[in-house]
């Protein structure tokens, strides 16, 4: 009974995508112009076989993913450090706060032409863009997490004579962890979007965005659809992975009902 219910619940999640696919296929069968705008399922399937056979799909996805991970690593680490610094040291908050808060108002996309001018349009610049995209949400959440450390727990640390590093590791970091994971999930989403997005602006190189740009030039609607699906699915998978990780590391929190 309960497994049956679970199956039903699982199938419910599939209902809306399946409806969408059906509507899509119906649209593609209406007339010639529709058939172009909505590539038929058959042509998408053929395109998928072609792309995976040539390896282009894997190479593109890998390039975009790799850039996301690298940028996320840099951006999230620096964001955490800066956020912790601003939260824990009033001096740091005064020194870098105003600069930080005005720069974060500028959309990353608006910075791309400038960054391309300074650093060229190679992979390094793209990683920098991804890192910037991950940096801001991470830093903001780190500030929040580290400034909300309960003074009662700090006192316990003082009672047991913890040194500065022990204090960071045993008291501050775990206190901030829920906010840090919140920031990380946001940073991941921004990193992934900007990893693919910056390929549309800096068109040399490899990646899912480039694959779609080339498909557009060659009027291959099927490949564009495959690109969109890939980006969506990979983003979803990474989000799921990070959510699981956060649940595991935050298992000490009481379950909220």
């Amino acid at each position: 009974m309960s497994t049956f219910k679970k199956c039903c619940a699982g199938l419910r999640g599939l209902a809306s995508p399946l409806l969408l696919v059906a509507a899509w296929e119906a649209a593609s069968r209406q007339d010639a112009s529709h058939a172009y705008a909505f590539a038929s399922l058959a042509s998408i399937g053929a395109g998928l076989r072609e792309l995976s056979g040539s390896g282009e799909l894997w190479l593109s996805a890998l390039a975009s993913l790799q850039r996301t991970c690298l940028g996320l690593l840099y951006g999230a680490s620096l964001g955490t450090l800066l956020g912790a610094g601003m939260a824990l040291s009033p001096l740091a908050a005064r020194l870098v706060g105003p600069l930080f808060h005005s720069l974060r108002q500028v959309p990353i996309l608006g910075l791309i032409p400038l960054l391309a001018l300074w650093f060229g349009s190679g992979e390094g610049t793209k990683v920098l863009i991804v890192a910037l995209a991950a940096f801001y949400p991470m830093a903001l959440n780190a500030v929040e997490g580290f400034s909300q450390v309960d003074p009662r727990y700090r006192e316990v640390g003082r009672l047991f004579g913890l040194g500065p590093w022990q204090h960071c590791w045993h008291v501050l970091l775990p206190s901030a962890l829920p906010s840090l994971f919140n920031g990380l999930l946001h940073a991941l989403a921004f990193a992934w979007v900007s990893s693919v997005g910056c390929e549309l602006f800096l068109s040399t190189g490899v990646g899912l965005g480039n694959m779609m740009m080339n498909a557009e030039a060659g009027a291959r609607m099927d490949i564009i659809v495959i690109g969109v699906l890939c980006i969506g699915l990979l983003g979803y998978a990474m989000n799921l992975l990070f959510s699981r990780l956060s649940q595991r590391l935050l298992r000490w929190r009481p379950l909220r009902r």
């Binding site: 727990y153 009672l159 004579g161 045993h170 008291v171 929190r253």
Partner: protein, 266 residues
């Protein structure tokens, strides 16, 4: 002085844990003015003695314990533990708060082990000590539970184990059982008494429960509010463990309640 009767092994004269407080004053700045919270506190605590402090809420009981613990360092007067002035927190003074203050992100085991972070003990010795103290407070089987999985009484036991594991000369308890139900509280009082007899460290406990103060304390100190002053010191003078409804405890209870109520009157 205090009647220390048979069950407690006699203490050597130089047993550490003697607290001396002379002319202690404490102010808090409020709206730019200095509000007196404690005034002219004089208190000499013998090694191994159990002191209970009662008083109306807001009369400075927690402040007094926090001063002794070294969490508040801004005061006038003298405070010495075994002749050494108190200038900040130290491992020779342990503290148990009303809210157990276990770190929610650590298991019972890791919470207790944290108190040994300063020590140069290796992992195996830490584990042995921690397990010994977990057994001491009867929490076997809950080593790997997180605080939110414990009942109030169990969390408080873990907090007591954490405070005892550094073998402090002086253990400070700020209404440790205040949030517990009546039955659990009685059981915890017995446990604490057993630990005290076993450990022989000096203990100072703040409580709002006069019966608890009389059941556990060698001396009961009654504080008077605004500003906090010592109004009365009562020598209980009965051996431990005590009969809860001993006639002397009953009459002392009436006396203390009368004092507390007369304060509230004016």
């Amino acid at each position: 002085m205090t009647a220390i009767a048979p069950p407690i092994p006699p203490l050597a004269l130089d047993t550490p844990g003697a607290l001396s407080i002379r002319g202690l004053n404490k102010h808090y700045p409020i709206d730019g003015r200095r509000l007196p919270v404690l005034q002219h506190i004089d208190l000499q605590v013998q090694p191994g003695e159990f002191i209970a402090i009662v008083g109306a809420s807001g009369c400075g009981k927690s402040t007094l314990l926090r001063l002794i613990a070294g969490l508040e360092t801004d005061y006038e007067g003298q405070m010495q533990l075994d002749g050494k002035p108190i200038r900040g927190p130290s491992l020779d003074r342990g503290m148990v708060f009303q809210d157990h203050r276990l770190f929610p992100w650590k298991t019972v085991f890791d919470n207790i082990a944290l108190a040994l972070k300063h020590s140069r003990l290796d992992k195996a010795h830490v584990a042995a000590r921690v397990n010994e103290h977990i057994a001491l407070v009867g929490l076997q089987g809950f080593e790997h539970a997180y605080p939110h999985q414990l009942s109030g009484g169990m969390a408080q036991r873990a907090a007591i184990a954490r405070a005892l594991i550094t073998q402090p000369k002086l253990l400070l308890l700020d209404e440790p059982f205040g949030a517990l139900d009546a039955l659990t509280r009685v059981r915890m009082q017995q446990e604490l008494q057993r630990l005290w007899i076993q450990q022989r460290s000096t203990m100072i406990m703040v409580t709002h429960d006069v019966e608890e103060a009389l059941y556990l304390g060698d001396r009961v100190i009654v504080l008077e509010p605004r500003p906090g002053r010592i109004r009365h010191v009562i020598e209980v003078g009965l051996a431990h463990p005590r009969e809860r409804n001993a006639a002397r405890l009953q009459s002392l209870r009436q006396e203390i309640l009368g004092q507390l109520l007369s304060q509230a009157g004016h």
